[in-house]
Amino acid sequence: MRPGFSKVAVVEDDPPVMAAICAAIEKAEDMDLVNSATNLTTGKKLVLGGGFDILVCDLGLPDGDGTTLIQIASEQSQEIDIMVLTMFADHQKVLQAIRAGARGYLLKDQPLENCVDAIREIRSGGSPISPIIARLVLKQLQPAPFPQDKLAEPLSNRELETLNLLSRGFSYSEAADIMHISAHTVATYVKHIYRKLEVNSRAEAVFEASSRGILGS
């Protein structure tokens, strides 16, 4: 495996979108399209088969929810970066995907040739976030007033500061200037925040399951 080289797998049911992504990836010299699927069933096989560093996954598949695939892939390996394909980057879909294990998103209406830039960004450790999503994450991951509600992985002060600036509309580079760090570090913070969101949502799920007696003690 060459350093900086990415193996990409794509799951997307819309042929023109799939075609545009595939074309863009194949054109890029630092990445390779290793596999693709157009529905949940074949997508599962693809994910379980492995052999990729990046999974680009649509959520609205004809036979089910793409979130399932993201979760399986995320549980399978921590090394994989997962990106969701979204139409509007609306907070609900994006947050749902991040909780499942996604670390970034691609907008379907953007010229898909640019998707390789987003893939490179995420491989180098950064994640995108919109102000609305930053605000909602902030609301969810704020330090709890009661110790018993303590999050499994609370946000650090620096991460809270980052989220706060981003929710108020500052771009990564503006936020970086304010915090006297690099824009890349801001992007890395966001990725960490996403990871914590996922860990906490898992912990919540485990807690709920155990309190319902599914897991026993």
Partner: protein, 597 residues
């Protein structure tokens, strides 16, 4: 013995001639003895058959008292008294041969007419009579000026008769009152013991101030004597109950049993013709042992009431010893000249009652405080309930909104959105005219803004505008326009719902579109900060570009600007669009913090 007082002279006789002869005593029968002679019963019983009696005769010189207002004062005579001067009876404290009279505690002042006095030797005879079972004795005899004797008499009468009578009757009434209270609250045993304390002490003290027995004298005597044991027992029972001593039931039963035991022992001693000194001592022992229990309790529980009761009872015990010393056949001392006992019962009763009253008042205050506290709790609970109901309704509304939003989003994702995205992808692949692609992009942008307007951001206008900038950043960059972001923290606008959000986003989107299409600008400044207008809180949102500005004609014919004004009106905001001095256009929108009023 002659006593000189400021108001006159008094002669106290320290000795007298005594005779036990019940007929006319001859000269030979008289025998000189010291006064007072309080215990003559045993002697008289030996000499006499039915009732017992004794006469005491004192001599004085009539010359010294001539032409003065004089009187005879005598006290401590048991029980009936006849006073004669020169063999002429001038006073008796009984009618006929009424043996129920008890004169022992009564002082007598007998004014004397000087006509009765002879020149030279005169004599006063005090004859005391008693029934066989009673005590017989001659107390003090004095003659002198009326004024000082009257003063002495009144003092003695007050402390021996008037005051004990008054307070004991008050005590009886209060006991009755307490007893009625106990009937209403049977569980408060202190009330029962208190009323019994008052009652038994009344019975005990009756003989101090009454001249005659209300019932058969013999029976009355027994009742009077034996009641002291029970007076002490119920007093101690009250203390035990009041202090809630551990094992107080046992203590109370023991006290009452000892009372019965002492009664029996006294009965036995009387039959055996012994003095009841032993019973008196045992009463002191009973009292003392209770004091020990009390002291133990006081030390152990550091109880202030217990210490105070201990002090009180000790004082009562000391006065008891004082009174025992005054009993005729013991006769250790005369003490203060009268018995403490009729006061002690009342004092104990009064202090007990006040302690109990204080405790009840405290309990009442506690109840009031508790009521206030409970009312407060109820108010709090009601408020909390109302708040939680409000929150629940709020949640239900939010959930309904969320469900509706999800439904709309699904429609957009699965239907129109998906089709638009596919169309755009196809158009791009096949290199359709740019107008087609732009239109499709614009349609998708509009949808995105609609989606954003639905986000639950709680009226946070800054986030809303920030997201618009985020959405349009790419387009602005492509047009070579730098965006300068100047926002401050602003209070959320609580009235800003999804519909209002959409109007705001559309308005700002239109402004940005105008810049992109017409302004030929190099940069824009996006700002948002709090600003009060006409003393109303609000926020000012502005977009200022450095482009070419616009002409008046453009302004009047532009449909887009019309829409912007319409949306501002719906938001009840103030919109101004103006050319800047240094070139470029400024769009300013002011929104009120609070839309009411």
């Amino acid at each position: 013995m002659v006593q000189e007082t400021p108001s006159g002279q008094i002669v106290h006789f320290t000795e007298a001639d005594f005779s036990f002869s019940q007929n006319n005593p001859t000269l030979d029968d008289w025998e000189r003895r010291a006064l007072p002679a309080l215990w003559l019963s045993d002697e008289a019983r030996k000499l006499q058959s039915s009732h017992i009696s004794v006469s005491a005769k004192v001599d004085f010189d009539g010359e010294t008292l001539k032409d003065r207002t004089i009187a005879i004062f005598t006290e401590n005579n048991r029980e009936q008294v006849i006073v004669s001067v020169n063999d002429i009876p001038i006073f008796r404290n009984f009618v006929d041969n009424d043996h129920s009279v008890m004169g022992w505690n009564h002082p007598y002042l007998i004014p004397l007419s000087d006509k009765l006095l002879k020149e030279g030797d005169n004599f006063i005879t005090v004859e005391a009579r008693s029934s066989r079972d009673h005590a017989l004795g001659i107390g003090s005899i004095a003659i002198g000026d009326l004024e000082p004797l009257n003063a002495q008499f009144e003092r003695q009468y007050f402390f021996r008769i008037d005051a004990p009578k008054t307070i004991n009757w008050i005590m009886l009434l209060l006991s009755l009152f307490v007893f009625i209270m106990w009937l209403a609250r049977r569980q408060e045993l202190e009330l029962l013991w208190l009323s019994l304390t008052g009652l038994v002490w009344f019975v005990r003290n009756y003989h101090f101030f009454s001249l005659s027995a209300p019932i058969d004298l013999q029976l009355f005597q027994y009742v009077t004597y034996y009641s002291i044991y029970f007076a002490v027992a119920v007093t101690l029972a009250f203390c035990a109950e009041f202090l809630k001593l551990p094992q107080r039931k046992i203590i109370i039963v023991a006290m009452l049993s000892i009372g019965v035991l002492l009664s029996l022992s006294r009965l036995f001693l009387i039959f055996a013709n012994q003095t009841d000194m032993a019973s008196s001592l045992m009463t002191v022992i009973l009292f003392g042992s209770f004091l020990l229990i009390l002291a133990h309790h006081a030390v152990r529980n550091k109880s202030t009431p217990a210490w105070l009761l201990l002090l009180l009872l000790t004082a009562a015990a000391l006065t008891g010893i004082h009174d025992i010393g005054r009993i005729p056949n013991i006769n250790w001392w005369n003490g203060i000249g009268f018995h403490f006992q009729p006061y002690i019962g009342f004092l104990l009763f009064l202090i007990f009652m006040l302690s109990l009253a204080k405790r009840f008042l405290n309990a009442l205050s506690l109840v009031e405080e508790t009521n206030v506290y409970l009312e407060k709790r109820v108010t709090e609970a009601t408020d909390a309930l109302a708040a939680s109901q409000h929150a629940q309704r709020q949640m239900e509304v939010e959930r309904a909104l969320e469900t509706e939003r999800e439904r709309l989003m699904r429609e957009m994702h699965d239907g129109i959105g998906s089709n638009l995205v596919t169309a755009l992808a196809v158009a791009r692949q096949r290199n359709y005219p740019s107008a087609t692609i732009t239109t499709l992009q614009k349609a998708i942008s509009d949808l995105k803004i609609t989606v954003d307007s639905l986000a639950p951001i709680d009226g946070d206008v800054v986030t809303l505008i920030a997201n618009l900038r985020h959405r349009m950043e790419h387009e602005l960059q492509q047009a070579g326009i730098a965006s300068i972001w100047k926002v401050e923290e602003c209070e959320p606008l609580v009235w800003m719902d999804a519909g209002h959000s959409l109007h705001l986003l559309r308005l700002l989107q239109e402004a940005l579109s105008n810049i992109l299409q017409h302004a030929n600008a190099g940069s824009i400044i996006l700002s948002c900060h709090s600003q009060a207008r006409d003393s109303k809180e609000g926020i000012l949102i502005s977009i200022i570009d450095d482009g070419v500005g616009f002409t008046a004609q453009e302004k009047s014919t532009s449909k887009g600007l019309d829409f912007m004004y319409q949306r501002a009106a719906i938001l009840k905001g103030a919109l101004t669009i103006s050319n800047e001095k240094g070139g470029g256009t400024a769009v300013r929108l002011w929104l009120a913090q609070n839309r009411q009023g």
